[in-house]
């Protein structure tokens, strides 16, 4: 697990399906400062390609993505 990145906020989307994780992420990312990182946890396998799409469309950067015991962990940096 990536541990050398400072996490400004944590967002638990485990058990949620599209569109909720992306809606919650878009709201949460507005509450951190530009340059800060949010940790998002999800269990929906669709969240893996969806997070790529979120990065492409919003410009916010996926710093890391990992999977452990069926839980996906994304670190996303607010870029603007």
């Amino acid at each position: 697990m990536v541990t050398d990145v400072a996490i400004a906020q944590k967002l638990d989307c485990k058990g949620l399906l599209c569109p909720l994780p992306i809606i919650k992420l878009s709201k949460a990312i507005k509450t951190i400062e530009v340059g800060q990182v949010i940790e998002m946890l999800a269990t929906d396998p669709g969240s893996v390609p969806d997070m790529e799409g979120f990065q492409n469309q919003t410009g916010h950067q996926i710093v890391s993505k990992e999977q452990q015991n069926g839980v996906y962990r994304f670190l996303v940096r607010r870029t603007k």
């Binding site: 399906l17 569109p19 909720l20 992306i22 878009s26 469309q57 919003t58």
Partner: protein, 165 residues
């Protein structure tokens, strides 16, 4: 990304429970990514904006061979299509679908609409449908704005993605 926000223009033309979700899911997701979104609710799709009807949208097993069998372990055992026409089958199918949605922690249609309104999705109520079906502005949720096909096309002409649902 350029200066101009991307734009999604949707037509929601169906008023059944299963067909009400896709436009609202696409709209709320696009809005979450910073897109401008407008949905044109036309014909039975207008029921999604109807204060009294939106919480009673139904899904019908009639003509819907995709409706699942009662026993998931036996996939070939489908409910015969004819059975779907029996009294109570639509209510049963609707209850079943609402049950799946709740179990999957999916928002209700009302909650999906609230998410869209909160995200500034434009909800356009088809003026012709309102005239044909005798629906007034007072029957619709407050965020609904009555307009015609011209308004929607004017909006959709600058859309990056446009879908008819």
């Amino acid at each position: 990304m350029g200066e101009r926000a991307k734009r999604l223009a949707l037509v929601a033309s169906k008023g059944s429970l299963d067909q009400a979700y896709p436009p609202l899911i696409l709209a709320s997701t696009a809005a979450a990514m910073g897109w401008e979104v407008g949905i044109f609710f036309t014909f039975y799709g207008l029921d999604i904006l109807h204060k009294k009807r939106l919480e009673h949208l139904q899904v019908s097993p009639v003509g819907n061979p995709a409706m699942p069998p009662p026993i998931p372990a036996i996939p070939m055992l489908k409910v015969p299509t004819l059975m779907g026409a029996l009294p109570g089958m639509t209510a049963m199918a609707t209850t079943m679908m609402k049950g799946w949605m709740a179990k999957a922690k999916m928002p209700t249609i009302k909650e999906m609409l609230d998410l869209c309104v909160e995200a500034d999705v434009q909800l356009i109520a088809c003026a012709t449908t309102m005239g044909v079906m005798g629906i007034t502005q007072a029957d619709l949720i407050p965020a609904a704005k009555c307009a015609g096909a011209t308004t929607f096309l004017d909006y959709a002409a600058d859309a990056d993605v446009s879908l008819f649902i």
